[in-house]
């Protein structure tokens, strides 16, 4: 066992400081230390995407990053983009367009989709499918997930135009 170290990370705008072993996996830090349980544990080998979070503007699978690698970084989880009473357009679109069934992959899907729409605000279906290929869903067959992202993109672009 290696010695505990001091870490400071920002999660959903809140600064968190704690002592942890450097090789603690970030998903455990989030879920067990900080009680942020939106990112889920699916495979723990970075294949399924249920644990996806955003770290310094990049989509990252939190099951294969050490807490030491996240030190000093800015992390956004599903809880950080909107709550039940103020849904992010993507959250609302996944709800309204049935982009979920069992819901276990949903937080990772949505948080990945926030980055995809930042990178490509008006993606084609193919770009959505390519951009989301690191996140798997066993229930939906993906059709409604793609439709949800398309609907959210349209809504976000319309809001942007209206603001300009």
């Amino acid at each position: 066992m290696s010695k505990k170290q001091h870490y400071a990370i920002t999660v959903n705008g809140k600064e968190e400081e704690f002592l942890a072993e450097p090789r603690e996996l970030l998903i455990y830090t989030l879920r067990e230390r900080l009680n942020i349980t939106g990112p889920h544990i699916g495979c723990e080998t970075s294949h399924c995407g249920a644990c996806t979070v955003t770290i310094d503007g990049k989509s990252v699978k939190a099951c294969t990053m050490f807490v030491a690698q996240a030190n000093g970084k800015d992390i956004t989880t599903i809880e950080g983009i909107g709550g039940p009473d103020n849904l992010h357009p993507l959250q609302n679109a996944f709800k309204e367009h049935h982009g979920l069934q069992c819901g276990y992959c949903t937080p990772g899907m949505i948080i990945r989709a926030t980055k995809l729409l930042e990178e490509i605000p008006n993606p084609t279906e193919e770009e959505i499918r390519f951009g989301m290929s690191g996140n798997i869903c066993r229930c939906t067959g993906y059709q409604n997930i793609v439709k949800s992202i398309q609907a959210a993109a349209a809504e976000m672009n319309a809001a942007k135009e209206a603001a300009e």
């Binding site: 349980t37 889920h40 599903i78 709550g83 069934q101 069992c102 276990y104 798997i136 066993r138 067959g141």
Partner: protein, 763 residues
């Protein structure tokens, strides 16, 4: 009416914000302990010596239990009492739990479980169908055989004969949330169990049995699963029992969550099958006689294998009338994970058997496979004869003639078939294939007594409604459908209805949420409970305001009795003040069922659900790689309870079914070790594996049987729409030469390439 609306899933708002709780998200008290199993490294033999001193000494370990430390054998089996929680010294598969580690953290338990020193006495494992047949290693004393007439003279007297066989692989459920349980010990030795299970009553029963407790001492709660697909019908028993045993031993709450690799190694999967056939038919491909042999690899324990294999036999006909038929079913015991329920429950394997026959007949006669299929369809309801299944049930509402017509039209089957024929003639490397295949799936548990359900409904004095039933939510939208039914019964908006977690102390003696029966059974039970309360309110208001109870109207959130027009809340308040009970149970049992599984005769199903799928693929004949280009699906959900949820089931089922027959490959090595035990080696469909053109429609005709609002079950049947992809691959392979197509499932690129080479060589 609320019940037919395409409303979102009841927990959608929680799911999209990460606020929906799964077992691993439930806050646990300080001192909660975590469990992991130590697993067998051999497939067959016994333990010679076991040294767990390193395990016990590992950091964070609180206790290590072996079989002799348990209060009983702690049987985990849903059927034959042949699955002790921990090995009794004999070993039956690689991955079998030998000991149980109880530790202060999940990782500490997992790490310690790797430290055992075990000496084995290995024996030669029975791994393959051939091994099992040679050793006569099977469940039941011999093959189960159902016959109608004698097919062999019919086959030999027919104009043409064919025989062959197909291997059909298994499938890992890959529910995104792995198996999990959490147990809180209570006063009086009682246990509260949270389990990710499709069958809370079974968990209650097995935990009580393991601890020598009456069932009333164990309460099981299941709010939701992160996917089930049949994999949580019996496979959660071991975790719940382990947690309860450890909680009893330590007095602390205990939690167990399988790591994904352990989940693959320990739990059962879909049965893999070999199906051989002999068939006789005329010049148009109409079958006169057919004989099937179905060989199923059931794994080491019986689990649900008998009803799974029965259902494979019950779907050996799929949509086709078979005048003489013999089905022989071998349930083989092998030293592998105990194969278990998986969406379709044997039905898909049985159906692939007959669809392989259809494709072979068409290829032999040089006919379009769809013409051969239609030639063999059961008769439409308007026509006499050719309506009796091999087991004697009459197919009364066979909708597939009309459904096939419509799907041929909307998918432009004929034009595309001809265009593909010409395209293939011009393209030497890439070849396309098109197939349209039907599905007829029987709805009801074939173990007749399971076709019952209970519900508990409360109306509070503010008009809000609390609802509970025996079904479990695994993403299929059952809770939403049942809430919509309750809202319709009371004529109120969906926001007044709250569905609560499935709980064995609220509704007892429930069946698994399985066999697609969730909304049929629980929807009816909930409707019955609502109607009891509604009748009481109506009687009260008729007495108070005049008119008859029957004349009281519940609609649009209002209750109208004679001249009085009340809100639902005012009506509830009034009934409460008049001392009227606003709580009721409801009960339902499926009518008309009568089934003798040993003879294979009777009416096992209340009704059938139908579907049809048209898929187009393109293969690369140099590599065997392929893509699905387009899929058109038409599925019968009766009068849909929620079209959005039903379309979701159809899309998801098709993709999962196509995955089973194409990319999802389970590989065991010659020692019996599962080599594909994680997503790195076991591939399920991803966003890019679905067809770019994907059209899905519901055949929205009411169920002729009196189901809840004339709907039909939709959980399993669409899975088998995926068979069209495999059939289309066969068509594409056939376009490469003159030899006979033989494409086992899953049709991985390697198998497609090998099939292409055989067809090219004319073999």
């Amino acid at each position: 009416m609320t019940h037919a609306k395409p409303l979102p899933h009841d927990a959608a708002r929680l799911h999209v914000t990460g606020a929906a709780r799964y077992i691993d998200d439930i806050p646990t008290p300080r001192g909660t302990l975590h469990l992991a199993f130590g697993l067998s490294a051999i497939a067959s033999g016994r333990i010679l010596a076991i040294d767990l001193s390193m395990v016990r000494a590992a950091e964070g370990v609180v206790a290590v239990l072996q079989a002799e430390d348990l209060p009983s054998a702690c049987d985990c089996s849903p059927s034959a009492h042949d699955e002790p929680l921990l090995s009794d010294g004999t070993l039956h598969y690689i991955g079998q739990p030998i000991f149980l580690v109880v530790a202060r953290s999940h990782l500490a338990a997992r790490k310690a479980a790797q430290l055992a020193d075990i000496a084995y006495d290995k024996t030669s494992p029975i791994l393959t169908i051939a091994d099992a047949l040679a050793a006569n290693s099977r469940f039941e004393d011999g093959p189960r055989i159902w016959e109608r007439g004698d097919p062999f003279p019919a086959i030999s007297d027919a104009r043409h004969q064919l025989d062959g066989s197909i291997d059909i692989g298994g499938q890992e459920h890959f529910y995104l949330e792995g198996q999990a349980a959490l147990v809180f010990p209570q006063e009086n030795a009682d246990m509260v169990v949270h389990s990710s299970t499709q069958h809370p009553t079974e968990i209650q029963h097995k935990v009580a049995h393991a601890l020598h407790l009456p069932m009333h001492a164990v309460r099981v709660e299941t709010r939701r699963m992160g996917g089930g697909f049949g994999g949580k019908e019996s496979q959660g028993n071991a975790l719940a029992i382990a947690c309860a045993v450890a909680a009893q031993a330590t007095g602390q709450p205990c939690k167990m969550r399988y790591d994904r690799d352990d989940d693959f190694m320990i739990t059962g999967k879909r049965h893999d099958f070999r199906i051989s056939y002999q068939v006789g038919f005329d010049d148009q491909g109409q079958i006169a006689g057919l004989s099937f042999r179905q060989y199923a690899r059931c794994g080491w324990a019986q689990d649900l294998s008998l009803p799974v294999c029965d259902r494979a036999m019950l779907h050996a006909d799929n949509a086709y009338y078979l005048p003489t038929i013999r089905i022989e079913s071998h349930r083989l015991r092998t030293n592998t994970q105990s194969a278990t329920a998986f969406r379709g429950f044997g039905g898909p394997q049985g159906m692939v058997g007959i669809e392989a026959v259809m494709d072979q007949i068409a290829a032999y006669l040089g006919l379009d496979p769809l013409d051969v299929r239609r030639k063999n369809y059961y008769n439409a309801p308007s026509k006499k004869g050719r309506r009796r299944t091999p087991y004697g049930q009459i197919v009364r509402d066979f909708a597939l003639h009309e459904m096939t017509d419509r799907l041929m039209d909307t998918s432009h089957y004929m034009e595309r078939r001809n265009a593909i024929y010409q395209w293939n003639a011009k393209n030497p490397v890439l070849k396309r294939g098109l197939a349209l295949t039907p599905v007829k799936f029987g709805i009801s548990f074939t173990l007749t007594h399971l076709n019952q359900a209970g519900a508990l409904v409360h109306v509070y004095q503010d008009g809000s409604i609390s609802l509970n039933h025996g079904g479990t939510e695994m993403g299929q939208g059952l809770f939403q459908k049942v809430a919509q039914i309750a809202a319709s019964r009371f004529g109120v908006g969906i926001d007044l209805v709250r569905i609560t977690a499935t709980d064995t102390s609220k509704v007892p003696n429930t069946s698994a949420t399985a066999a697609s029966s969730g909304s049929d059974l629980n929807g009816m039970a909930v409707a019955a409970a609502c109607d009891t309360i509604r009748s009481r309110i109506a009687a009260h208001l008729a007495g108070k305001y005049g008119g008859t109870p029957r004349g009281v109207i519940f609609a649009d959130g209002r209750v109208i009795a004679a001249d009085a027009n009340l809100s639902f809340a005012e009506a509830a308040q009034s009934a409460y003040e008049a001392r009227v009970s606003l709580s009721s149970t409801g009960f339902y049992k499926t009518p008309k069922l009568k089934w003798d599984r040993l003879r294979g005769a009777g009416r096992p199903f209340f009704y059938y659900a139908y579907g049809a799928a048209c898929s187009e693929v393109v293969i690369d004949t140099l590599t065997g790689e392929y893509r699905i280009l387009r899929a058109d699906l038409l599925h019968d959900a009766g009068a849909s309870l929620n079209p959005a949820l039903d379309i979701g089931q159809v899309e998801g089922g098709f993709v999962q079914g196509a995955g089973w027959l194409t990319m999802e490959e389970l590989v065991w090595d010659n020692k019996g070790r599962l080599q594909t035990h994680a997503p790195a080696t076991y591939k399920i469909p991803a966003t890019g594996d679905t067809p770019p053109v994907f059209n899905v429609d519901l055949w929205d005709a009411p169920n002729p049987e009196a189901t809840i609002y004339r709907s039909k079950a939709v959980g399993e049947p669409p899975f088998m729409l995926g068979i069209s992809v495999w059939s289309a691959l066969q068509q594409a392979v056939a376009a490469t030469g003159t030899g006979q197509v033989h494409l086992n499932a899953p049709a991985t690129p390697e198998r497609v390439l090998a099939a292409v080479e055989r067809v090219r060589d004319g073999n």
